[in-house]
Subunit: 359 residues, 2 copies
């Protein structure tokens, strides 16, 4: 049986998607071979790749003056690719620091340029929050402004898209496709696939046309946005199976009613879990309400010595991967698109039972 999987990533995929992939694993559409055994330049595969892009464009309402790239290397390789493509020599960028992932991005960028770090973390009534933009020391001459919309480890998320007249660059790895966003507000959006898109090994980059040709120095061809755009993300062999699986996820999302519908479902899941935590004396979430992530819900137990017991019993109830990130400890429930409301209800029921037995 399939368990409820709260892993932060690589994360749960829709069961219907895995069933479809399973059914056509050995013989895709009666062609006598697996989709992963096909040339990426074959007509059949190119049609799959193009359909995935078209569906993603539909789901996110991506304007025509943006390219959508299906790349390898993870968001972490984009931490380098972004400054390498967008920063000129001695030029500056603003990086908003709100947690571990935005810190990784800015540390990598510091190898290549003058990075203005905007410390945006604060506390409100003892809870972690993101400072109002009026308190940020943004540069007048930044080539771009970078932020991570949702900090997967901390469970802290921006309530709004930052306002800037500079190109806005966003790491949406753990929030893409969870809620509608206005792509036209961004210069570049990137996301590792392994949360809301598909399996690990694929990275989506959505980049406005005017930012494609900014690379000033010699950078690896594979990292060059202009080269990848010109070659439909096939400067070399892409991660074909991950791309195909992502296409199946996009089809599934469209069948659910698209991003608006999944957003409603995500809000219901988050509301259920947060309101239970808030109502409990046994559990606590450290984030101010306005900045709570709707995807990653960290929580602590009043008796931290029971954490192992909690995880063990949860697993017996088919509730998997609830341990917090190794760097912060505690618990974390990642409730991405593929985690159904029933899964969150089962988690809340278990948490409540566990709390009563251990109060």
């Amino acid at each position: 049986m399939r368990a409820y999987n709260f892993c932060a990533g690589p994360a749960a995929l829709p069961t219907a998607v895995l069933e479809k992939a399973q059914a056509e694993m050995l013989d895709w559409q009666g062609k006598g071979l697996s989709i992963m055994e096909m040339s990426h330049r074959s007509a059949d595969y190119v049609a799959v790749a193009e359909k995935a892009e078209a569906d993603l464009r539909k789901l996110m309402n991506i304007p025509e003056n943006y390219k959508v790239l299906f790349l390898q290397g993870g968001a972490s390789l984009q931490f380098s690719a972004i400054p390498l493509n967008l920063l000129g020599k001695n030029s500056k960028a603003d990086y908003i620091h709100t947690g571990i992932w935005s810190e990784k991005a800015l540390k990598e960028a510091q190898r290549y340029g003058d990075i203005n770090v905007v410390e945006a973390g604060t506390t409100v009534d003892g809870k972690l929050a993101i400072k109002d933009q009026s308190e940020w020391n943004l540069s007048a001459d930044a080539a771009y402004v970078h932020y991570a919309d949702n900090e997967t480890i901390g469970g802290i998320q921006f309530a709004n898209i930052p306002e800037t007249d500079k190109p806005l660059v966003a790491d949406l790895s753990s929030s893409i496709l969870s809620a509608p966003i206005d792509v036209s507000k961004f210069g570049l959006i990137y996301a590792g696939a392994q949360k809301n898109i598909g399996p690990a090994g694929l990275t989506i980059v959505i980049v406005r046309d005017d930012l494609l040709d900014q690379a000033k120095a010699e950078i690896p061809s594979i990292l060059k946005y202009s080269a990848q755009a010109k070659n439909d993300s096939m400067v070399n062999t892409p991660s074909t199976y991950a791309w195909y699986l992502s296409g199946l996820v996009f089809e599934w999302l469209l069948a659910q009613g698209g991003v608006e519908a999944i957003h409603k479902a995500n809000l219901a899941k988050a509301e259920l879990l947060y309101s239970y935590i808030d109502s409990s004396d046994f559990y606590a979430n450290p984030i101010a309400k306005e900045n709570r992530s709707i995807m990653n819900v960290p929580f602590t137990l009043a008796k931290p010595e029971l954490e192992k017991q909690f995880l063990k019993e949860a697993e017996e109830h088919h509730l998997l991967n609830l341990a917090g990130h190794r760097s912060v400890g505690g618990m974390r429930a990642s409730i991405y698109n593929a985690v159904p409301l029933e899964g969150v209800q089962a988690l809340v029921d278990f948490m409540d039972d566990f709390a009563k037995r251990n109060a």
Copy 2:
């Protein structure tokens, strides 16, 4: 039904491997989730990853002073990573030029250093061949010597490993695991997975310990061999499903009797196909015998106007992907490890029938 798939890459995988992956797609080992839905840091996944590495070490008899890395980005990203890691400022490398892939590697390397291009192509009795090493103009002061063992597009392969006292760097993308090699002769071996290893989206790098810390400048962390080695190829989330599938391929290879056994099978397949081509007036292979690839067999028809007809009829006989690379035309049969002797026999039977009907 499964066809015989002669695709140059992404290429055929063993049917038994796909069947195993299919069976555990939704529920890996009764854990209630797919292997691709697991954290790469979970004990279950790490065991899968480590087993794959151990099996590859066994298959290739990799000495202990070599690290094995499971990376993303394809061999083409290694075209940049190799000079970025191994070349100091103003330092030199020798690149042996034998075809399209070794040319791509050297063109990328030219962005980062002083590249001495060794033109090693020649003709012998009108057939393409690789010059004897005594005719190469190798540098006295090269940081390393690079070559592509097997040119996937041209179907030309080195008869021997080049001799050098410099670190030898080899692109084995289309020949790795096809025949035994002495890893200790190399400084670094790299290979895209999508021929003899697994699906696209994974790249294997086997690198001698003393070459790990050569990077002189700031290079992306994801490309830095020392960082990847220190983190067991998990500086960030690796291509977990491709890694798992490659592990299944390694298990399959061990069950076949390892690389020695598959090499015998490969020689039999190549002998069958080449000797048929040589015996025919209708087909021709352009490569000198000593340098014929045992993996990629290009051939031409005496009547090139029949190529489309040949491909159409081959497909009707469940013999797929025999068109040559778009840059060279003609035909090409890639007969990697996963293509069985019966597949090559079926191809030869079809070729013979086609030739008789169209002589």
